[in-house]
Amino acid sequence: MALIQQSDAAPQVPGGGCAQPLTLLRERGQREVFCGLTSIVWLHRRMPDAFFLVVGSRTCAHLVQSAAGVMIFAEPRFGTAILGERDLAGLADANDELDRVVEQLLERRPEIRTLFLVGSCPSEVIKLDLANAAQRLSQRHLPRVRVVSYSGSGIETTFTQGEDNALAALVPLLPHSDAESLLLVGTMADQVEDQLCRLFARLGLSGVRTLPPRRSTDLPPVGPNTRILLCQPYLSATARALQARGAQLVTAPYPLGVNGTTAWIQAAAEAFGLAASAVEPHLEAARQRGRQAVARYRDQLEGKRLFLLPDSQLEIPLARFLHQECGMVLQEVGTPYLDRLLMAAELEQLPATATISEGQHVDRQLERVRAARPDLVVCGLGLANPLEAEGMATKWSIELVFSPIQGYEQAGDLAELFARPLARRQRLHF
């Protein structure tokens, strides 16, 4: 089998705005993406009482510090247990070594409550059993510190999938409860979460819990009467792990933009048996504000051609928002991975004219970008400046993971993120 294939004959994806199938392009080749270790960069802020210890090589250490090292840390929140030649040659017992390193770390940082052992490509290739190690270390350090493991390796995970694996690793630790509850899953900015919880409270759904929590020890309960609503599209493993604990998945589009947020809230309300007529009045004021804020940027975005390169799996919901609410024309929507179950409600809203691509052959994709000459390219930082130098406007995609973009109050901010590079080009004259 050729490893780098020509694109398969375009298979059809159900969906498409006019009930027409969408074109799906599947590609293999060089992928210009982050590995899952990068998730540490935001997870360490979400749960400040957790520490992320990568078990890997100097490359892994270098990646994480290159991403996060521009911030200056008085107290580090992540580190790497770097494998040496002795570990590879089997001269040192990996488990003894790991125990020693963890002791050393906990001595320095006694306030750590949850320690994540994060698997990497090297640790996966040499088959280090981190799950076992986490169990052993938990037994030793409980009740003070809980140790869990997940993989953020590049061979298994792309960028945001690291968060998916981290949350899935927490699922077995969640307490059991038969109570009716709503669980919001996926990292969102604190402020955004508060807004959405307030909206749910107005609908009579109080006591909404979140995964990940703000403190790693404050884990939400789960059981057969728990309904899970995903805040992020990249949580395939977590969603399935929660379903395995009996929780019911509420299918909905993602809360990006006014329409996405409305559909997302209504899906949850419906799952709890609330009539749409009862929900509507509570949303109207915020919805109006959202529309007003988005309208401000519509002039700049309307009719502009958009090309999204794969990065975080946020691409499809973003494309839906930018097309529907900002009037942008979609040329290609690239995603590193397409989970049809989790993306069903989004795909059916995309226009039939858009090409969806899954995977990447970066040089060929760049040829398509150059041929299409889009008005705006959404891409990673490895490509942004080079494309700008070729005269194309870019929006670097990582920012979308680090910004408050969900919900009504952020709809305008989200549109502004895409309008900003265009506005900047108009301002600059040299």
């Binding site: 060089q30 290159s66 790497t80 061979i155 915020a286 804020a293």
Partner: protein
């Protein structure tokens, strides 16, 4: 396993990438898992390059491991050569590929490609970035010059009299510390003594340029961490002399000129005339007029002037790569009058000279790549200034010590737009400003610590929302003004002195919501919301008011 909170160097293949990216016409095929392309960002973001690094990654995934990863290498090599048409190809593996042993270099060599192939063997679990860069540069130069090596014992032909002597500058590279401007500064220095620069490599060189290396009269090893193996090899194979003095600091720059002059038989007395810039010609615009003018450094006079007296005996800790640590130790002690209380390096290759230097200052050198050991040493030495790398910034923050960066590893703020060399006369100017600046800041902090009641120098990190203490200064109103503030026009920002009264008009919930806004925009949001509430006649500011204002103003 080693617990590593921060690593001073990347893996060796990043060193190889630095060589490939520095050069023109060289491509690098790297057998690596998906995700290792993060290294592109070092060049496109930290160095702000407008081109992708000339690196093709195989980016294998777990599903490929059961299949033929060796075939992926071949496809990538063929694809890269066809697409990018390089003049030379580097082939190597990253740490994970090293474990699956596909021998990518041997595979590529067997493909019958019409260009020189350099097979890189970089042991990722025992060596690091600078070693990888030095090894790659050495292997590439060796491969490209192997047909030119004269028979052993061949003497170098004497330089033709009357022809300007030529030198190569070896070592400057992508992601090096200030290499871009150091090269300009050293070319200017050499121009002043009538020496021509022939090849600068790897930075900006092509494979064809590397083949011209033996034509020069002298190699200058500017960055031993990258170029020493190449310089040694050229000395052995081509009998090319090499100058090893690194011109960072006034004294070192003078030594450098003397060494180059002696090696080339060039008279450098004019360039070395011990006049320093004094008060009289300090403001002469001709001072830095380019290579034809006599450039001189302002550091000596700045360091002698009385406001520098307080620098005397300040305790300084130096930790860097070997080259920059040695240079900094000399400048700190002999040229700025600091007291050295710690000296160390993460470059094991430089352990010997750094140990010798430390002994001359009555210190024991710290040779380690363990961040925690450095942190402990700094903590024990209790310096007033740390001269180090990006990693020492973390330590300095934790210990609240002023800090300046003198060496890699660096981040984006140390690749400045302005001309910022470390070498030569202008480099010394840059160094004076950079090292003294945090001390000034430190002094201010000191005063804040002593006098806490100041109306202006309040703790900037303390949000006045949480403490209810200090109020921001309204610079538009003198302190003793008895005039009432002018009424603000509608939709203008509120007068900040009135904000304490307005605080009472925020609901608890609204105020808490405001606290969640990032601090750098919080002030603006607050002013906007209050102005909005005023125009709307709203007495109590709630969460909804905040968002209505946000929608009204757009941000």
């Amino acid at each position: 396993m080693d617990l590593t909170l921060w690593t001073y160097e990347g893996p060796p293949h990043v060193g190889a990438m630095r060589i490939a990216t520095s050069m023109e016409g060289v491509h690098y095929v790297l057998h690596a898992p998906q995700g290792d392309t993060y290294a592109d960002l070092l060049f496109t973001m930290i160095e702000r390059r407008g081109k992708r690094p000339p690196v093709t990654y195989t980016t294998f995934q777990a599903r490929d491991l059961g299949g033929d990863t060796a075939e992926m290498v071949k496809v990538s090599v063929r694809d890269a050569v066809e697409r990018f048409q390089p003049q030379a190809l580097l082939v190597g593996e990253s740490c994970t590929a090293e474990l699956i042993q596909d021998q990518p270099g041997a595979l590529a060599s067997g493909m019958g490609l019409p260009i020189p192939i350099v097979n890189l063997e970089l042991p990722a679990y025992s060596k690091k970035e600078n070693w990888g860069a030095a090894e790659t540069f050495y292997q590439l130069v060796r491969r490209l010059l192997k047909d030119q090596v004269p028979p052993p014992g061949t003497a170098r032909p004497a330089r033709t009299p009357g022809v300007r002597p030529k030198v190569n500058l070896l070592g400057p590279s992508a992601l090096g510390f200030r290499c871009r401007d150091d090269v300009t500064e050293v070319c200017r220095l050499l121009g002043e003594i009538g020496v021509q620069v022939s090849v600068v490599a790897p930075l900006g060189a092509s494979p064809a340029d590397l083949q011209r290396i033996p034509e020069a009269d002298l190699n200058i090893c500017l960055y031993p961490e990258v170029a020493k193996p190449v310089c040694d090899w050229l000395e052995r194979q081509f009998a090319m002399p090499c100058a090893y003095t690194v011109p960072i600091g006034i004294g070192a720059t003078r030594d450098f000129l003397e060494e180059v002059g002696a090696a080339l038989g060039v008279d450098v007395t004019t360039a070395l005339r011990p006049e320093v810039v004094g008060a009289s010609d300090l403001w002469s615009p001709q001072l830095h007029g380019g290579s034809t003018e006599r450039a001189r450094s302002r550091l000596p006079w700045y360091s002698r002037s009385v406001d520098s007296t307080y620098l005397t005996g300040k305790r300084v800790f130096v930790f860097a790569d070997g080259t920059h640590a040695l240079a900094a130790a000399r400048i700190a002690t002999a040229e700025l009058g600091f007291e050295l209380v710690g000296l160390g390096t993460y470059s094991r290759e430089s352990a010997k000279p750094v140990r010798a230097a430390a002994r001359s200052y009555g210190l024991e050198a710290l040779i380690t790549d363990d961040y925690l050991a450095v942190e402990q040493a700094i903590s024990e030495a209790a310096p007033e200034l740390v001269l180090g790398t990006q990693m020492e910034r973390h330590i300095a923050k934790r210990l609240s010590i002023p800090c300046a960066v003198i060496s890699t590893p660096i981040h984006v703020q140390d690749v400045p737009a302005r001309y910022g060399p470390q070498m030569g006369w202008e480099g010394a100017n840059v160094i004076f400003d950079t090292w003294v600046h945090p001390l000034m800041m430190g002094l201010e902090e000191h005063l804040i610590g002593m006098f806490r009641e100041d109306f202006e120098f309040v703790d900037g990190h303390q949000s006045h929302l949480h403490t209810g203490g200090s109020k921001p200064v309204d610079s538009s109103r003198p302190m003793d003004s008895q005039d009432p503030p002018e009424p603000a026009p509608a939709a203008a920002v509120s007068v900040s002195t009135a904000s304490t009264d307005k605080t009472r008009r925020w609901s608890q919930e609204g105020l808490a919501e405001l606290g969640k806004i990032p601090f750098f925009v919080r002030g603006k949001v607050r002013r906007n919301t209050e102005a909005f509430a005023q125009t709307q006649g709203i007495d109590l500011i709630t969460v909804d008011t905040l968002y209505e204002a946000k929608a009204h103003y757009g941000r």
